[in-house]
Amino acid sequence: MSFVGKRILGVLLILIFGSTTAFCQEKTYFSDSTSFFEFLSNQEQVPGLKFRFTLPANFQLPAKDTAIWNRADLGMWYSNSIDSISQLKKFRSGLDSILASSANFQYLIYDEPSTEAAASEFVSALLRNNDIFPAEKKNINSQDLVLLAQDSPFQPGFNVGFGYFSDFKIFMIALIITVFFLIAGGMIFFMILFKSRRNRREQLRSDFEKEISSPLSQILFNLSLEEIKNLPNEEIEIYFPAHRLSNKLFKEVLIENIISLNKKMKGDFKDKLKALFKRLGLYKISESKVNSKKWDAIVSGLIQINEMDLEEFLPLVKKHLNSPNFHIRTNAAATLLNLSREVDLSFLKNQKYPLSNWQQMNYLRIIKYLYPTRKLLMVSLFDSENITVRLFGYKLVRMVGRVDLVEKIGGIATKASDEEKIEILKTIQVLGVPSYTTLINSSMQSTNDKLSRQAIKAAGSLGDKSSEKMILELLAQNRRFEIKMLLMESLKKLNYESFKTYVLNEEDQDTQAIYHHLEDPLLSYV
């Protein structure tokens, strides 16, 4: 146990055991009425405590005694209140035998009649609170010491040490309060510790950034790319001292700064930064990060490999392509696409996890940037068992204009799900490939609203006579305004004469409204 821990435990033990003394003092002072009366006799007077005698209401009080006895509301007789025990004794001795035998003794606490038990407790409380102190015994000599000792009530020893433990509730409350303060104290201590460590780290980072900016500028402006690649160790030490390059935080800040500059710079500066990254051996940190078990470290390593074009680490990157962690597999795929000599998407074929729209957009951005200069291998996407990968494939055909793959996806369409058919129809429509009227016509009849809408749109661009006939059949069946508008728009594109004839024959309000909308040059594209 640490020094602090021992101290805390010590305080805890003092709290538990030390307080038991107080518990022992809370014992009743008077074991019986005799000891109580003896105490009162010795004390003579107790503040707030008085005495009196009472007589029954039917008692025939002699006329001579009416001066010292009063009659109460209920008819009972009572004496004047007596302040001290000596007065009490004197009063009692003054009573004749008849009166003495009939009179009852009564305690008064602040002039209120009380029982002996209440009076005893009242006096005990005064003693406990140190409001009164026991008077010294009168007429005590050495021979009475044994008798005097008997007056002190016996306190059993086992109560002294384990008072709190024997009282379970008090012990639990003390324990909970102690644990609460220990936890709160511990939390505050660790918060202060972490905060100070973080502040120190931030300060160091800021200092390192200032230290790095000047040598980086000198290297980038004073040295050529070849000079940076062949920079001797002695010269590196001039820019970055060896003790700094052995500091992990310094290297992290250096990496961050090089990558940040790489993003903000254009031209040969990018190549110089990449050359410097390699020359300083910072790629070792990227390699160790990619092999780390922490997901954030892996992502950071992947970004470094991607930004610094560390092609030699592609085998390491490939290990993370099917990672269960979204960020890892997204960054691994982006890195692989960026650094490979050809854009081979076969790695997506066996992707177990669904491709989110964000991932698809991200990959598409990279592919669109690379496609003009690199070979794009994407046929394997359509063989994937993962529907999101196949959907991405259909979108990709459309985005990069791969007309040569339309036949392939058109063949898939017959067995495809409605969701896939929608994307295939969109692709066929955008690329303007005819001869898919069978697919279009069958999809127009689909009960899936999204699919039929997409098919109707495609029919307008790619349909034939059979499509026209189907549109007219659907118009005859369909009463929904939105679908009717789509059908009429497609019919207008397919055969304007047929469209006009339909409008002339249909006099309902919706048809006429749609007709005027479509014929209005300002509204027709709305």
Binding site: E209, L216, S217, L220
Partner: protein, 119 residues
Amino acid sequence: MKKILLIEDDLLISSLVEFRLNKDGYITLTVKDGNEGIHAINTENPDLIITDVMMPFKNGIEIIHHARKEKPNTPIIVLSSLGEEESIVLEAFNLGVSDFISKPFNPNELAMRVKRILR
């Protein structure tokens, strides 16, 4: 020697640009936020101002407004990120900035433009 005020909160970029401009023989004064930039415009009387757009306290547009009011003849080059809103760029041009360079940029290209403006 011509004095150039560089208002840029990115320490690395400012260090690099400063180094390049010093190499060309200019005196550069670098500040890292809008408030310091406005103070420097008032007190330093620069021959050219290069300013970033997104900065703490006061952005580049506010700085251009101030510079146009206080030093209407001082040329200004705006150094900004590509992703920044078109409206900001248009506003900067409407306020009469001399040139606009978007990040990522080549410091050598910036130095050439500075030389052309201060010729």
